[in-house]
Structures are given as structure tokens and as C-alpha cells.
Subunit: 336 residues, 2 copies
Amino acid sequence: MEKITLKDIAALTGYSVSTVSRSLNDNDRIPLETRNEIKEIAKQLNYTIDINARNLSKKTSSTIGVFMQNDFFKLPHSTFTNIFWSTLHEEIQIKGYEPALYLFSDTDDFKYKVSQLFNSGLIDGVIIFSKLLTNKEIEFLKEMKYPYSLLYYGPEKYSEEVFTADNYSSGKIITNFLISRNLKSIATITTDMTPSFKMRTLGYKHALEEAGIKFNESLVIKAIPSFENGVEIAHQLYKKLDEIDAIFSQHDIWALGLIKGFTDLGVKIPEEISIIGHDNLAFKTWFSPVLTTFTIETKKICIDAIESLIDDKIYKKRRIPIFKTLGTLVIGESVR
Amino acid sequence: MEKITLKDIAALTGYSVSTVSRSLNDNDRIPLETRNEIKEIAKQLNYTIDINARNLSKKTSSTIGVFMQNDFFKLPHSTFTNIFWSTLHEEIQIKGYEPALYLFSDTDDFKYKVSQLFNSGLIDGVIIFSKLLTNKEIEFLKEMKYPYSLLYYGPEKYSEEVFTADNYSSGKIITNFLISRNLKSIATITTDMTPSFKMRTLGYKHALEEAGIKFNESLVIKAIPSFENGVEIAHQLYKKLDEIDAIFSQHDIWALGLIKGFTDLGVKIPEEISIIGHDNLAFKTWFSPVLTTFTIETKKICIDAIESLIDDKIYKKRRIPIFKTLGTLVIGESVR
DNA sequence: ATCACCTGGGCGCTAGACTTA
DNA sequence: CTAAGTCTAGCGCCCAGGTGA
């Protein structure tokens, strides 16, 4: 099977290479009849365009690079990564672009890959989904004028630019929900690893204060997100159970660990302690009681990031404001 | 920032474009000193090669396409997909190739993407990880002489070609293990969706027969793999518990569902029923008792598939036999 | 003959300039 | 002037086959 090129089609149809090229690209200058004739032949020959040649000539490829840190797919509960990647994959195609996934390890790797891809015209823009981002990467992108959107994560300094959930409001909504159930002494589990968590904590704090409840630093528990740490925290809190009405776990993974930990200890949820999570992990159905949690608008966030990248930064057609998208409570059985 | 090309470096150093190209590709024909001089300049200018131009000229790209079906990243417990993808990503790089992920939806989509990528020289070989594969895809690859390796899944007719676990032996080992614990009446949960499960069932059957235990068709339970179905099966088996000693769940996800289901019903594991799984999912630690299960050599399987693809099918250097790799038992607490 | 480097053609496609009726 | 094409240069790189010392 020899490779079919425009030349072959030109020879076979008697037209020139440029006419063939124009026809296959549906150029108005070629009469519809000719176009169809050429397309028909191309189809019969199973012609596919040479992507390298097209890119080299056009200096653009209509593809969007999705950059993720390379350990995201190694995490045991990386459902989040998967949801984002598969949503991006779908939505980028809907916008008429090709998605391409790239994993990077560190700043240098990131910079090298990004510049190579942009220089080669292999990507027209980049969507970055990574906790590892520092100011350096963002400044590099700005300096090089590479179109980019930040998805979900971003360094504190540039957090305004990040397409993500409205974490401040979710913290507030969740806390208010607990307060509305007459749960007043609320602990929270968080981490200072990313700005998202800080915002949730801030929302939590303000909700408390607005309800006239004094914010108590000692009720803010810091941990690394993992099921095991959730179990561990349940054991730690076991003795203090009379001082606490509810726990706002800023990530479901801890909340599920809490359910397991407390259940093992014979603590009844929600009778003795209410638990609320954040993220609406699919696993929640594996545990009883079913976790009350909070879901973010993954799909909308992805679409916003993509549209901003394409319409605003690549085409400069319209300005897309960078939204922090509001999520919603998902009521389960773990809150009294 | 104007794009730097070989021409620019040539102009700057006074050498010709071909000398610069050869130097950057470490060609012996250029004296080391010249090479280093040129490389130094290239580095200072932040030169990156134009991938399209290189590929177009060389008709090869040193990249390996990883093809997966597009819904794999949507599954709630797609840890398996993630492990394979991240292992492939790492190991392909170690072999000096670039990994590229492509998701496809159906046969036509698959064929089109594969031929376009091969025609464009964008991939030199392809590793396919998909349940959707039919004879058509394989015959197409063979006809077009595209180098490929089948990973983990493959249509029954070509199952000999698939790099995967030795599912027959795992079925046997697991069943023998149960028998050695004096558990004789063993049910199994399986599906006829893929050849892997059929092989596990066959191993189970042979192990029973070799131990002189009559194979009982009614103890073979068929279901779609999901946690919920595991729970459901626990409820179904509740009344028959005196007839069954152990359950060989051919996928951990059912086994974890069983643990939850039986625990909720007040059935003690392993005292009243022994459970053994298959796949060693990371989630197993979330449940008590910790599941006894079986782990397959994911990494080795991936490496075999990659080496076969590169050394055998691309370079035709050496023949790699297609192994079915043996896994190992992972002892937990769910078997008496 | 070897070393060190250069010339030129070509990969397949695109698009602006040009031609012909 | 238009409609329907064709011509040609060029994208950036690689490499076979030179050339001159």
C-alpha cells in the first residue's frame, strides 16, 4: 500500500495539486462539481492528509494541548483527573479542535515541551491542569504570548485567572447548611496545599462569623487528602465527640475515611456526628450512610476554560470573564 | 520572539544548515568541537526543533500511539486504565520513544485515525488497550502492515497475540488456594464480556476437577462488573450461605461489594464465607476485612508489549514471544 | 583516501500570484 | 472583469552526494 498524496489524486483526475488541495478544503473558488469529483476519488483511494505537511505549511494545527502533571494518573483515586481529561477531550472536539494530552514532570520539562509544541505549530493553545504550577510557568507563558487557560489549579498569585469552582461560596454554603440544621460546633478538615482549600476555609470562617459563631482555630484540622487520613482523624476526634456537632471535610476522600473510622468505632452517623464532604466522588455510594456532599460544575468549568482559550486568547473575538462557578449541595444521609 | 530555525543558527555561526542539523543530531561526520559550538549557540537561542518539519522529512517520528476506547476515562473506578496509561507513558519514554494517547469511539474512527497517523509518520507503532476491539480492527492492522501490540484486551480470535496476564493460571491458583484452605464449595462471579474472564473461569473449573470436586454450573454467577452488583449478589447468596464456602470474585469490584453487602447483612467474613478477588485494587484497604486478592504484573505486561512492538515489529530485530504473565496472590483477611 | 563541510533536492501541503477562456 | 484553474515559492528539516583541502 503506497501512500496516497495530493499528487496522486492530481495525476488521476487531471487537475493540478493546488486544485485538489483546494477542493478537499472546500474552497469556494473551485466549482462544487469539481470538488465533489475530487473528493469522491480521494475517498476511494482512502486518502488521508499528511498532518505534518499540513501543519508545516499552515503553521497551525487546530489542536489544543492539555498539560497535566505526570503523576496525576498514578493516584489511586484519580477520578477527578479522569473526569477533567475526558470532559476536555469531548468539549475540545465539539469546538472543532483536536485535543492532545501531555504530561510533564517539572518547570523545565513544562517550558521545553510547551515552547517546542508552539514553535512547531503543533498546538494553538494550552490548557493546564496541574497543582505543580508556579509563578514561573505562568510568567513564561505570558512572556512568550502563548495562549493558555488555567484549569482548576493555579499559583496563588494568578488565582484570579483560574477557571475553577467558587470555593469560597461552597465553603460558605456547606457551613450555612450545617448551621441551618442547628449544628453549631463545626470542625473542618483542609490542607494548605492549594488556594482552593484556603478559599473553602475562608468561606467556612465567614459563614460562622456571620451566624455569630466564634471561629475556633483548633477546629481546623490539616491533613493530606487520603482515605487513611480520614480514618485516622476519626480516631483522633473520637474522644472529643461531645465538643463537635459536625465535620466539614473539604474533600470527600477524608469524609469517606471518617465514615469508615467512626463506623468501626461504633459511632453513629449522623446521630452522634454529622459529616459533609466536597466533590461528590462516585465512591460515596460504597459507604453507608451515603455521604452528603457538594458537587462542582466540572463540565461548565471545562467549557469556560476552552471557550476562553479559543474565542478570547486564540481568536481574540470576545472577552470571556473568568468565572468561579457555583456548585450545589448533594444531600445524602450523613448530616442530621 | 521570532522562531529560531536551523537557518538562523547557520547564519549566526557561519556554518551551513546541514552542518548545523548534523551537529544537533550528533552526527560523527562533524568534529566534536564544531558540534559543541553549534549546540551551545542553539541552547542560548532556546532553539527547539520543528517537529512537523522533522517528521515530514524523516517520515518517522519515534512516537508510539496508545489507543484506548474513549469511555475508559469516564468509568468511576478506572484505576486500571490509569495504571496502564501511566505505565505506558513512562516505559515508552524509557525506550526512547514519545508516547501519544488517542481515544477512539468505533471501528471507523479507529481505522481513520490509525491510518492518518501512520500515513503522516506521526506514529511508528501503536499499542491498543480496548475492550471494543473486533476482528475487523486487527485484520485492518495486519493488511496495512502497521506495527501494533495488543494490550490486555483483544478479540477472541486473536487472543494469542494479546499481552496480558495468564488468566487461566490465576483462576487455577486462586481456586487451588481456596481448596487448600479446605473450602470446597466455591462460587465464582464472572462475565462473558472478555476472554480474560473466560480463561479465569476455565482455570477455576480445571482446578476443581483436578481436586476431584464436581464443577457446578449453578455456582457460576454472571454479572456486569460493578460495586453495586457485588452488593446485590451478596443479598442473593444470603439464603444459600450454608451451601457455599467461598466466593471467587473474578474482579475486585464485586468482591468489595460483597464485603459491604455481607457486612450489612451481619454475615461474618471470613468466618461464615470466604471471599477472594482479582486485580488488587487500591480501594481494597477501604474495607474490612482486607480483601485477599490477586495482582497481575501490569508493569511487566506493558514492557513486554512495548518491547515486542519496538524490537520485533518496528525494527524486526528479535522475536518477542507473546507471554501470558503470571500474577501473584495477595493475602488479606477475607479467606478463612 | 580522509576530513570537514556545503549544495541541492525532496518530504506533502498551502496560498498568493498568475494564466487562460 | 470573472470563473476556473495552474504555477511556484516556501514551510523547516534531513540526507545523498558532492567539493576542496
